[in-house]
Symmetry: C3
Subunit: 295 residues, 3 copies
Amino acid sequence: MFGHGSHLLSSKDLTREDLERIFEEAEKMLPYARKEKFGDILAGKVLATLFYEPSTRTRFSFEAAMIRLGGQVISNPEMVITSSAAKGESLKDTGETVSRFADVIAMRHFEAGAVAELAKGSSVPVLNAGDGSADHPTQGLLDAFTIWREFGSLDGLTIGMMGDLKYGRVPHSQYEILSKFGVKFVFIAADGLEMPDKYEGERVKDVSEVISDLDVLAVTRVQKERFDGGEFDYRVDSELLKSAKEKMIVIHPLPRVGELAEEVDADSRAKYFDQITNGVAVRMALLRIVCGYGE
Amino acid sequence: MFGHGSHLLSSKDLTREDLERIFEEAEKMLPYARKEKFGDILAGKVLATLFYEPSTRTRFSFEAAMIRLGGQVISNPEMVITSSAAKGESLKDTGETVSRFADVIAMRHFEAGAVAELAKGSSVPVLNAGDGSADHPTQGLLDAFTIWREFGSLDGLTIGMMGDLKYGRVPHSQYEILSKFGVKFVFIAADGLEMPDKYEGERVKDVSEVISDLDVLAVTRVQKERFDGGEFDYRVDSELLKSAKEKMIVIHPLPRVGELAEEVDADSRAKYFDQITNGVAVRMALLRIVCGYGE
Amino acid sequence: MFGHGSHLLSSKDLTREDLERIFEEAEKMLPYARKEKFGDILAGKVLATLFYEPSTRTRFSFEAAMIRLGGQVISNPEMVITSSAAKGESLKDTGETVSRFADVIAMRHFEAGAVAELAKGSSVPVLNAGDGSADHPTQGLLDAFTIWREFGSLDGLTIGMMGDLKYGRVPHSQYEILSKFGVKFVFIAADGLEMPDKYEGERVKDVSEVISDLDVLAVTRVQKERFDGGEFDYRVDSELLKSAKEKMIVIHPLPRVGELAEEVDADSRAKYFDQITNGVAVRMALLRIVCGYGE
């Protein structure tokens, strides 16, 4: 069971029970994430953010979560260039070292498995803030929490995933988390970017075929170097949303680079900016739980 | 009127009334800026410092101002290299995102207008910490505050500006702020570095001609790549100050690279180090006002 | 005497009396360094960490020390790239500037003497966090504190130093500190990496000759570009430790890159991870003393 002292290394490790507990804790944290309240439950605790790959959004989200519950932060925004990594220290040794300074570690790395490797040496909880193409569990969690909040439950929903479903780590993290519930997946991807076969769901090439069936449209970025556009249209705009359910929601991990038209921002179904606040609440919940303060 | 929730995007936006209020608030903040007192008025507030161009001096000044009033900081010392910028996120989206984490944002950018662009998306106040060659309003403010403190008022003073008056953003910010008061400007610059025509003032090439008339000598750095020295002498030394008024003051935004002789540091007219402390006080005043705690 | 307001620039500056006081203060700080207690004695104080060369370990150690005693931090993880340095500001001016923002400064620089140069301009205490090949006094202090804790005293001990004794700054810092006590040194180094002649001690080439005599084996990294291995074996493993005293200890500043076998970690004589915690305690002691709170 995910709890006091646990690492969060992989989306797969979380059970349905774990997920529901995290959602309930995150719900309680929303007034703090929304800046309506300032907490002190993590006073006296120190978070180390170790980012071997820069990500201002994810790092700030963890740091704001920690600070707004009264904790403190020590931060390395770009570990790649630090001396120990350059000198060839093992990640296990770095884990042992940093865990002597901090009470909890949030780590982003450019290589799959690196976070788990660091956790081997750490005497404090390590939270995976994204490791290579493998996983980004806190992103999957905040996506699932956003859906859970909108619909009150996840069971029975039809979730469309659109974007780079082959190389993107976010769709895979979303799948691992959402598949713990009774959801139906629809994978919408161009040739060459399809969801790998091991993931179960309907596979389509044209979002307009399925848009009216979806409760959630989970969009992710397609890197230009991986896809040249061609016939396939990944763009979500007001025209497309005309065919969608009134209570359908659009989520996206951001940053976006064209796959979401700005005109959609004003649509009440656009939840991608609310997700940022939900992300702070989810990370507050995780910090509380692993530090032993979750109820 | 500049107040609770306002952005500070441009020196031009501030009225004489705004400026006088900021100076009065900054005066009250001096005991905190001088480390004689530690405040708690900004407890529970978080400042995000977004520096797309590194500037330890300006960033530390904002961060010290926030921390010494009880606030907290999340910081990105060099945003250029972060993933979202690299991935092509719009500044407006970055503004919307970061404003979910923080209560106020201080931003430095290498391009004119970038801070205003980010502010479009932000739901919290954005303070311009320098944008390209355009403006550096908090520097202009702290310069004006330094003069205001020395003379008790700005009206009636003769202000000499010397340095790179063409490309430097500091002289332009100083002008926009000081020209709200009844001051007389004297622009002292070599050929090719003159103050643009739209700014009104006397124009001379030799500081020794006017030094005895000045109440303030505002020096700025001349970048070597823009000026090879030639006949023109920008150096302020003890010899030059022999001709200056006893109550005249020398200001400079620092860093200096030769245009102020070290021997001048001991002269009571040298105010450039006191300006650093005044800068913390001004930024404290701004943070208080935009966060709604100014009196 | 090292005390309130002092800089810590060089290992040489500390007397035996200073060192004993630092050890006693550090001992009192251990419950805070071990995260058993959280202090507030440095509440209202701000530490600036200026790292002109990245070192996550040393920076985090100073920052954790400050935060866990209630203080706050402003940080520049990689000053090399900042504008003032690029613009050619003198270190003395940087010192004057940063000392206006902070109550104490910890500085790492790639050049010997740079920390002392910055201290010339600083109105607050400056702690040397490593300057080029010259010195790393807080590392030497935490090594000596680790030994002092294990043996209750330093007098009468035999200290073996093994590694790059010529170019490494750590052995030289260790020597300057430990030589204030009645210790015997044994220098173990390959040809070309010997301890310079001015340091007094026995000189051997083979650790197995002396291992049974040692109370302390102080290992340091040998950079591959300086030594190709050859006949000389720097590796400490379980086999070597069979010949060592039962109460002997192995210390190392970390990171390690092969000179300490992982199998040694489980040996009770391996103290290199405990040193990390001891390093936080030593830096807490230094911060307390220079800020005027040491008893």
